[in-house]
Symmetry: C3
Subunit: 477 residues, 3 copies
């Protein structure tokens, strides 16, 4: 029977995507997936905009939905010689306006084959099929068909942000805002009669990183927002604490820190005050800026002991690697390249200070996979505060997730990981991304079951924990 079933069903590879091939393993993976595929989505970290849900204005067209906001997409096209200008990417408003969205879509469709084997295509194909009912493979010939079908759909009421949020069965959606944000969109949602949980994460990079071009202006604004005197370091800390309190009052449960490295430093009071004063004047050396950022991670961790906010650290990206692109097109245009990282020495000052404190939850993300088995799993496997964040960015992918589980589980177990993050600004891709994550976890668990490492009963329990419970617990949602 197994074989017959195999003959009948296996050619429908898409239905069983990412599952193992051998009949019995496939069977178990399918069964595991049945129990988690319809669980609500918890999205504890990402970059969607609260404004979409506050205003519930329809998305525009296929290009605005899938290409313009997605650096995964346009970086690949750029790598094959397609100019950003021709894709409508750029900070210069006149450039953007001059490109017809349909023309961009056609250019993209013609080059869609470049994405073969990438998660981007996996997500897009999922959306084309599940959201817009198109199951062909996008190419130059059917570009118009896709464009029109998508544009037509987007005009329908059921494709507005709030309606999609509900269709996607999202239970919580976290956005990410700076301390300078007034969270007016979040407040609008709370005040509305729409019953959804859309909360922010406190991401203070632009008031913590002295290398940020508006650092001192931002620190001043932070003072104005909070009524604290941010001319002194003490006042600056008080302003942070006050602002965290404000975020928390609107549902926030976490902070997020995007640092170039994971370095932390414990500076003396006098030292940090002196560096802070120099930072306000824009006078810091490279080392001093690094020390200030590193010291602030410890300050943030110490505030977390008090207010309970879960702390996320995303480090190790060389941002805006090409100065020419940064100058002409702005930040975050796909030129962020991972670099080698060390956590063992870098985090020691922070862990020495607060790493054993059970009140702290510190979620570590990495772009250097060599650190997974060597550093992150051993650290998370002993420090009560440390959890390993899910595969991030380039590694939010089939192989990235498999390597992640294979590199961390044996040392840290499942229960020192933090649950899946979609970490996306592409709202419609959220179900596709959770689908991949849940499938991969089921495939991995099926593997452990069939190889006798865990029982089937344990497998079902873990699948549920990975898809739902762990992320809620870790992020205090």
């Amino acid at each position: 029977m197994i074989v017959l079933e195999g003959e009948l069903f296996l050619r429908n590879f898409w239905r069983d995507r990412l599952f193992p091939k051998e009949a019995l393993s496939l069977d178990i993976a399918r069964n595991l997936f049945e129990t988690v595929k319809n669980l609500p989505i918890i999205s504890p970290h990402g970059h969607t905009e609260a404004k979409w849900f506050a205003e519930n204005i329809p998305f525009q067209n296929a290009t605005d939905l899938f290409i313009t906001p997605d650096h995964y997409v346009y970086r690949m096209l750029f790598s094959h010689g397609i100019d950003l200008d021709d894709l409508g990417i750029g900070r210069r408003a006149e450039t953007r306006k001059s490109v017809e969205p349909r023309k961009v879509w056609k250019l993209f469709s013609k080059h869609y084959y470049l994405f073969r084997g990438t998660p981007t295509k996996l997500w897009l194909d999922y959306m084309f099929e599940n959201l817009f009912g198109i199951s062909e493979t996008l190419c130059e010939k059917n570009a118009d068909l896709f464009y029109d079908s998508i544009s037509d759909a987007l005009e329908k009421p059921e494709f507005r942000p709030r309606e999609l949020y509900e269709r996607f069965k999202i239970e919580v959606l976290c956005t990410t805002e700076t301390p300078l944000d007034d969270l007016s969109d979040h407040r609008k949602i709370i005040r509305s009669d729409w019953n959804a949980r859309i909360i922010s994460a406190y991401r203070p990079d632009n008031v913590i990183d002295p290398d940020h071009e508006s650092f001192s202006k931002n620190v001043q604004l932070l003072g104005e927002l909070t009524g604290e005197n941010t001319d002194s370091f003490e006042g600056y800390l008080a302003a942070h604490f006050s602002r965290r309190k404000f975020f928390k009052s609107l549902g926030t449960t976490s902070t997020d820190h995007g640092h170039p490295s994971a370095n932390t430093f414990k500076l003396s009071k006098g030292k940090v005050e002196a560096i802070f004063q120099k930072a306000l004047l824009g006078n810091l050396s490279r080392d001093e800026a690094e020390m200030f950022r590193g010291h602030m991670l410890i300050e943030m961790a110490m505030m977390s002991l008090e207010d309970g906010l879960v702390m996320q650290l995303h480090s190790g990206s060389y941002r805006d690697h090409s100065p020419s692109i940064k100058q002409n097109f702005g930040r975050d245009k796909g030129f962020d390249i991972p670099k080698q990282l060390d956590y063992v020495h870098a985090l020691k000052p922070l862990l020495d200070a607060v790493g054993l404190d059970k009140r702290l939850t510190l979620i570590l993300f990495t772009l250097d996979e060599a650190t997974l088995s060597r550093e992150l799993a051993p650290l998370a496997g002993v420090y009560p505060s440390v959890k390993i964040g899910p595969p991030w960015w380039f590694f939010d992918s089939v192989e990235g997730m498999l390597r992640f589980r294979r590199s961390t589980t044996e040392t840290a177990g499942f229960y020192n990981t933090a649950g899946f993050n979609d970490d996306t600004r592409a709202f419609c891709s959220i179900p596709a991304r959770h689908d991949v994550a849940r499938r991969i976890d089921c495939a991995y668990l099926s593997d452990l079951i069939v190889s006798g490492q865990i029982s089937e009963e344990e497998g079902y329990s873990i699948a549920m924990d990975l898809s739902y419970h762990i992320v809620k617990r870790t992020y205090k949602l």
Copy 2:
């Protein structure tokens, strides 16, 4: 038939654990394993205590057997907020006494799910079933049942250390002692009428590492033990040589070196004498201490040319990462974290001096898996002295072993690896660990056979070599 067999047997996953799933590969893996599963165990490196076998006193209870001595176990519990004090771990005797072993066992049982997917659980489940006949999964409900069954069994004569040693079919068991040890337990075993081969490895870290808190006292003791004048570097070397000779006279075939890095240095006579004198006074800088350790690795290698002792190098662990844990609970409490390592430059002075000498066997262990394919396999694949030690510590695991074979075999072959080490202080886990290693090797070989890379005949020959012959040859046992 293959399918029928599949249907009948495959659900018994535990029996075929760690084997491939596809019918034919599974079949071959099973057949390979049949030929090696009952081979005697060679344990060439580990941390059991000779005293257990010299005195043959029964083990106490489940907690003393499985939890208290095993940092794999209590570090995981600690990472989930369970205090070491509540586990009876600690150097303060009063703490340890105050905790009831059964209470610790219950705490452990309640949290046993944390170990899902870890080798610790794989080993424990094996012991529960094979040693104590319990095949349920441990949990809070059956905690007492487990505790009582194990305690009852431990009182029986067949559960005493010597009887277990025989039941486990151990052919050689190596312990690890410092040069200051008088090996009285080993001598007692030799003098007894019990016919077992329990030998020591010469591990001189505490008389070689100037950062060790009792370094100069230990050097003095070394002098007293050997009658050499260890006030001079020359006498200090002579004392080492003499002590190695003493170990060798009691069966020792290897030395072992646990250094923070793999750095080696060839210092001039004058330079090393000066550093040695400063070391005795406790005056070394960090760099000088590193140079002294690195120089001593070369001295040890040169002694190996003369006395033939096989040299093991375990480097790359950041020991006792948390100063607070070290201060309150002592060394080796699960806070050892791997760090990035380089062997190519670090070992060059040693390899330049003696690396081409066929009399030397230098077994390199790593905690940085990135070095396996990049450095260790290429080094072992050309230097006649260099062999790659088996997956160590966190990587003594299913995935760790698979990555090890996949990363080393193609460049260094099977015959430049050193054979499996259980490296454990948990005596009862030895058969479980060798079982995992043999199964993984058979699974890997089955893969090579079914993918046409080696013949079945070669597969059988390699399986035998990996389980038995290579380790005997490499360690000169």
Copy 3:
């Protein structure tokens, strides 16, 4: 039916080597391979000698064909204590003559088991079977049989270099020469009535690396060859450009650079002239030599913008790790060990200068696999100039290729990779190496198909692209 076919055919593992085991995946891999296995071979980078084809003189015997020129082979034998002298390896002519080739062959045969699980054995077994019709496993007993069969065959006309070239269905074969080479053999082939495309790659290391023992002599020769005044940096650059033009006139489409690191530097005119003058006098510090090499990479890239030559960078090998071997046996005797590498910072000056220019093609090779997913795939996935070179050297292997695809595809796609390189001096191994590469790609694609990540149609298209089109396009062949 699938099962029956399985029972009948699967035991013939060699036929299906490197393919997946599960019936349906195997079936798809086979079908994919059918469409590419007979495609012509494009060999865009390697180290065969044009002279063989210019003169078409028969190869001598099994030892000269398989052992003496192949460091993969003799490094493994050396690692097991076999002296290079006994293998006829060495720069001292008298040594080489004194060893009887048949005796070397027997020594090799006796130790052939050491190569189990290595790509060397996979290639050799392929050659023994496909070229010489011997399908036994080589061992001590059949050593003479092998030796005689091979020697007999080599005397036949169909085993001469040109005839093998045609039998191998080679479409283009690239050799590698220094700028000082007069390419007389290439010209001889062009002038001959034999219709084959054997072209050179411009590899200027010995006139660019100031650490090369004949650097200043070579620079002078370069001047003489081109009529440029290479006493000045300007003249030196002009000489390079002139020489590139000469190579290009004989069909060359690429340059190749073997640097210790990937470091690049953009020096001022004055600075580089000063360093160049010191280099000619042999007076450079280590850092200055590194700066000069790094600056020259940018100069070479800038010339590529003009003449269109594709640029290959092979970096990260610690060459001639053992000084004793280098002194007694010369360079390149198997003692090249990979080392840790960084591309993100190292290449930044070059990429800042010319990385966005679509006229440049820069193919990056690595020996540090940790850089694949962390650095190379993200760089190639955005910079239009950057392509990822195929698995190099120790990683030109089954597992190396699988890791390569799994680490690069998801971020860079298939179309930012450069196609397979056999990179060999063992001419007869070329079909064996392309066979492995094509099989692994088909196995990988079958995996993507069966797991629903690409369609079967896409799989066939990619298989063709990977085996043929991509390499032609990337190398402009």
